[in-house]
């Protein structure tokens, strides 16, 4: 049996249409978009077409899009630029379970002299908007709030926070990397100032991402050198990857609503079947607004790491949390942040579906999950007796 991939929050397979769009730029076509000759002109055109498509997806205008190599780079660029322009003095507000590219950037800036307030999510996996607003100060330089949490899939009250921040003149950075492609994301509806997406989370290639910067909001070069990206990000453009990002954005424009429904059908079938397959399993944050594709599940008395390995050996790829650590297992900071104990966090599994998954794969997965959980409980000395008897 071909392995079944159920870890789409880590990365997604390339859409065949995206691959087709990229192939000429990995083959017969080439050019530096900054060159004057016709090779350069064609490459420039390809990059600008991609920019149009990404801008359209986010409801923005093409000049508002800055291409980067990763979501991490985009998040870092905004934070370090905002801090630098303020002379490394002032205050940041972030949620406590932001992606590491925000958390670690904030920690570095804290060392450099900024103050950082980290707002904790509730046990429902949602950061209360009023808690973020209450943390704002006259010297707050930036608020960072992700649109969807990468581990839990919970959707955060970004529009509410952005409206309040706008009244106080505080810009908002929204890391929407996990959300774009799964739910509708519109820069103006959100009302934020910076919005970040990554191509490889939406069936585009690795190595391409985009930062949307609201018109009128300043961002000066983080990488300096050539004049690319209107001097906001130097470095020769990764033409094939950006063409892929543009195509992936165009596909979502056309199919987005349908995708959301298909993902939710997979997720709902899994969560309904899970009640029969592993009756004592707990799905986190079901009462909160969530991404349609993500189930974060705690299986009491089962070590998540061991279950992940057994499932992988049985042909199903899932995750115990985010894929950004060294590949070893530590309790997820996100799960600790929503108030789970270390043991509960270590018994959790993240299943994230993608549009290429089928309902049949979900059923197969449920069978194997039930089998592997039972086997692990039989073997594991950690399991309380009553859990085995169940």
């Amino acid at each position: 049996m071909e392995p079944v991939y159920l870890d789409h929050n880590a990365t997604t397979p390339l859409d065949p249409r995206v691959r087709e769009a990229m192939l000429p730029w990995l083959g017969e076509r080439h050019g530096n978009p900054s060159s004057i000759h016709r090779f350069g002109q064609a490459a420039r055109n390809a990059v600008e077409e991609a920019r149009d498509k990404v801008a359209a997806l986010l409801g923005g205008r093409p000049p508002e899009i800055v291409f980067t190599a990763s979501g991490t780079e985009a998040n870092n660029a905004v934070m370090f630029d905002v801090a630098r322009r303020a002379g490394l003095r002032g205050h940041l507000v972030i949620s406590a379970f932001e992606h590491p590219s925000i958390r670690e950037a904030a920690a570095r800036l804290e060392k450099d002299g900024l103050e950082v307030t980290r707002v904790s999510p509730g046990t429902d996996g949602v950061v209360p908007a009023e808690a973020v607003v209450a943390a704002l100060r006259p010297d707050t330089l930036l608020v960072c709030l992700m649109l969807a949490n990468n581990e839990l899939g919970t959707i955060q009250p970004v529009a509410e926070v952005a409206a309040a921040a706008r009244e106080r003149g505080v810009p908002v950075l929204c890391d929407a990397v996990q959300a774009v492609g799964k739910i509708r994301v519109d820069s103006h509806e959100l009302g934020v100032d910076y919005l970040v997406l990554g191509a490889h989370k939406l069936h585009g290639p690795l190595g391409a991402a985009a930062l949307w910067v609201r018109k009128g909001v300043e961002i000066s070069g983080y990488l300096v050198g050539g004049g690319q990206e209107r001097r906001r990000r130097a470095g020769t453009e990764n033409v094939p990857a950006l063409v892929g990002l543009g195509e992936a954005a165009a596909v979502i424009m056309a199919e987005g609503a349908d995708r959301t429904a298909r993902l939710a059908a997979l997720r709902d079938r899994f969560e309904a079947g899970l009640r029969r397959a592993v009756p004592d399993a707990i799905v986190h944050c079901t009462g909160s607004p969530r991404l349609p594709n993500t189930s974060h599940v705690a299986i009491p008395g089962v070590e998540g790491e061991a279950l992940l390995i057994r499932l992988d050996l049985a042909g199903f790829a899932v995750s115990t949390g985010s894929a950004c650590s060294s590949g070893t297992v530590e309790p997820s900071k996100t799960l600790l942040a929503i108030g789970l104990s270390r043991d509960e966090a270590l018994s959790s599994l993240r299943v994230s579906f993608g549009i290429t998954n089928t309902l049949g794969e979900v059923d197969l997965f449920l069978d194997v999950l039930a089998r592997e959980v039972a086997e692990l409980r039989r073997l594991s000395p950690l399991v309380p007796r009553e859990a085995v008897a169940r």
């Binding site: 070590e303 790491e305 061991a306 390995i309 057994r310 992988d312 050996l313 060294s326 590949g327 070893t328 297992v329 530590e330 086997e375 692990l376 073997l379 594991s380």
Partner: protein, 365 residues
């Protein structure tokens, strides 16, 4: 037992365990590679050490070359508890420990085999140079064919149950053959050198002991960082003042800083009195040793038995009479006096190529 007919290979990222994984995968058997993150000091220059994260990256690459899945298991808490803390504790108690024996028994077989079973693997393979052969009483542990590389000394605490679930494919090969195989297979680790003796210590062992004590003084039973030790002769006369006692090893000659007609050596370490006893080379020879935590791989013998005993890993071995004393204690009479009986080291018993068992050295007879 378990459900998958799967063999787990312990992969350190070094040459030997890499070739082991590749050999098993080549047979077409279901194999999974497991690496242990034992000592995570990301800030230290770790490359080339068996516990370093970079070596674990090499293990992942070899697993891809062999076409097998690979997982890294964080086991640093267990490693500290079972290996590093006793290692430091031994130095503080005036002994010279052999951490690789503990690591091999507790970590590579006990813990890793337990983890492997959880993943559905009922057998474990490692890159040790030693052989497991069938005998009348079950599996037996034997020395490697390549005598220069033999590692059976480090495995004397294994049980028959563990041996029954283990494979050591390199035991019948020479290091040269293993290296040649790695080259033929194009493994990324083919050019790698040998790993160091104590993998978690990157500088001096003495400095390591002091840094560990300074980090957590309450972790160890023995007194922390003692004053300079008195250097005394066998009659108890003070010859000078040295460094703290745990900086010395039995048999050590260099660095005593004492003037004498003939060269002086460390004979014994006495932490309670903070004394280091020194004497001449001939005083280092002992007629036998007292051992504790006696272990037999097969059934324990009813009375005294003869065997060849190695009192450290590179010792050539000496014929001896083993006299079990009960309570896990044993007294051993050597056929001829041996130099450097060192408390904290293992004494391992052999009959021909077969490892009978061993004990931990308490002192000389």
């Amino acid at each position: 037992m378990t459900d998958r007919d799967l063999t787990a290979v312990a992969m350190s990222g070094g040459l030997d365990s890499s070739v082991t994984a590749w050999l098993l995968a080549r047979e077409g058997r279901p194999v999974v590679g497991l690496s242990m993150l034992l000592w995570d000091r990301s800030t230290e220059a770790a490359h080339g050490r068996c516990c370093g994260a970079l070596d674990l990256g090499d293990a992942k690459r070899v697993a891809q070359q062999a076409g097998i899945p690979h997982y890294t298991l964080r086991m640093d808490e267990e490693f500290r508890e079972k290996v590093v803390d006793p290692f430091v504790g031994d130095y503080l108690a005036g002994r010279t420990p052999s951490p690789c024996v503990r690591c091999n028994t507790w970590i590579k077989f006990d813990l890793l085999l337990d983890r492997a079973r959880r993943y559905g693997a009922d057998r474990i393979a490692t890159g040790h140079y030693a052989r497991i052969l069938d005998g009348p009483d079950g599996p037996e542990l034997h020395t490697a064919v390549d005598a220069d590389k033999d590692q059976s000394y480090y495995l004397f605490e294994l049980t028959r149950e563990q041996l029954a679930a283990s494979e050591l494919p390199l035991g019948g090969m020479t290091k040269r053959e293993v290296r040649e195989l790695a080259r033929e297979a194009g493994l990324v680790v083919a050019g790698k050198g040998e790993s160091m003796e104590v993998c978690f210590v990157s500088g001096s062992i003495r400095d390591f002991v002091e840094s560990q004590v300074a980090e957590a003084p309450d972790r160890y039973a023995a007194p922390a960082l003692a004053a300079p030790a008195a250097l005394v002769d066998a009659e108890g006369r003070t010859l000078g003042v040295g460094e703290p006692y745990y900086r010395y090893t039995v048999g050590q000659r260099k660095g005593l800083g004492l003037a004498a007609k003939s060269p002086l050596y460390v004979l014994a370490i006495d932490p309670a009195e903070n004394r280091v006893v020194v004497g001449e080379d001939r005083d280092l020879f002992a007629p036998g040793l007292r051992g504790e935590r006696l272990h037999w791989i097969g059934p324990a013998p009813a009375g005294p038995v003869e065997a060849t005993v190695k009192i450290r890993s590179r010792h050539p071995g000496v014929r001896a009479l083993l006299r079990p004393q009960g309570g896990g204690r044993v007294e051993i009479d050597f056929a001829e006096p041996q130099r450097g009986v060192t408390p904290g080291q293992a004494a391992v018993f052999y009959e021909g190529t077969r490892v009978l068992g061993g004990c931990w050295i308490e002192g000389r007879l």
